[in-house]
Symmetry: C5
Subunit: 95 residues, 5 copies
């Protein structure tokens, strides 16, 4: 898994019917947020994950990728390759 | 998933028979399009995805990768590792 | 697999119920720890892995990623994409 | 999928018996071939793919990676993680 | 698959019982060994693979990654994500 910060969400009306009802959160992996990296570099790494936990913008989360996102979230048949699977209790010190 | 912009398509006449009937769209991940990255860097990240939604060139899309593309799009037996699974309602502000 | 050093752990109270009971260890891949790379670069590569072996902070471990972590650790249905699957006997010389 | 150029092949006599009869082609992803990248950078990205289509050296091809290569090519039990699954009709303009 | 050079091995006494009996070889992907890349960069890319062929240190090998390593090597239930699946007949010219 990676740790990321929820920085936003996207809306998609025309999508696979298997995705209906899901929220698509934009995740910025936090280990790429150090001052030594430029703003551009950070944005490169963003991914979109569905949210089965109910994370809010600004929270630090655990994101599972690959088949783990699909199968581990009970969406075996959905085109999902990343999911928020936990919220970090205290993100202080992670950045 | 990643967010990408559809920038073109490719044609392949000689291909796996399991791919017949699919469109192959060239996707440029949008979080790599900031001015701070050179033109060369952007092109590095391009991928080819099948399109089950009907996206047009210039649209911003959600792309699922890995087994999610194959299984999530009902093509369990096809050699597909990336698929457009949604069109972003408003891509403004993403670049 | 990759070799990594266990550098910490994270706590997540609100998480997928399939993850309850697991420890989440922060892993720093050791082949990215050479002096030639900046501190920022090292942090970019960190991943979070569950631990089925009982590794301690500071130990060098083998980490399996992808479906191997889930299926190889008997957690077929859990949203897990990385797991510590062995502890290196002697990490000296690896950095 | 990615688009690559077939730049060579490798021979392996001692190999998994499940790989017998396959050709191993060396693929250079074309979106990494721009003049702005050094020769070294290009070589970093090369992968080896089996060929189920019959591509020749110099041709531009679609390469599927991951489980798509194995399952999509009818080689469920073989240790294959990349396969040429189509030949691009006209590679002009891709580099 | 990627082509790599076997540069060493690691020993792990405390490991998943499903890994008992396997050798863990350290692989350096050869397309990252050009003079233009620094020593540090090379080491970043090293991976650990099990060896089902019997490769020796210094040999050039084909490495399969992901589920192909696990399923293609008859270790469906083991936490393995990389395997040496062939030895290149003649590595001359690859570096």
């Amino acid at each position: 898994m990676i740790i990321g910060k929820v920085v936003g969400s996207v809306v998609s009306t025309r999508k696979s019917e298997k995705l209906i009802g899901n929220k698509f959160m934009i995740i910025e992996p936090i280990h790429q947020m150090k001052g030594g990296l430029s703003q551009e570099s950070r944005q490169e790494s963003r991914i979109v994950a569905i949210d089965i936990i109910g994370a809010g913008i600004g929270e630090y989360v655990l994101v599972a990728q690959g088949s783990a996102a699909r199968i581990g979230c009970g969406m075996e048949d959905a085109p999902v390759d990343a999911a928020i699977v936990g919220i970090i209790d205290d993100g202080a010190g992670l950045e």
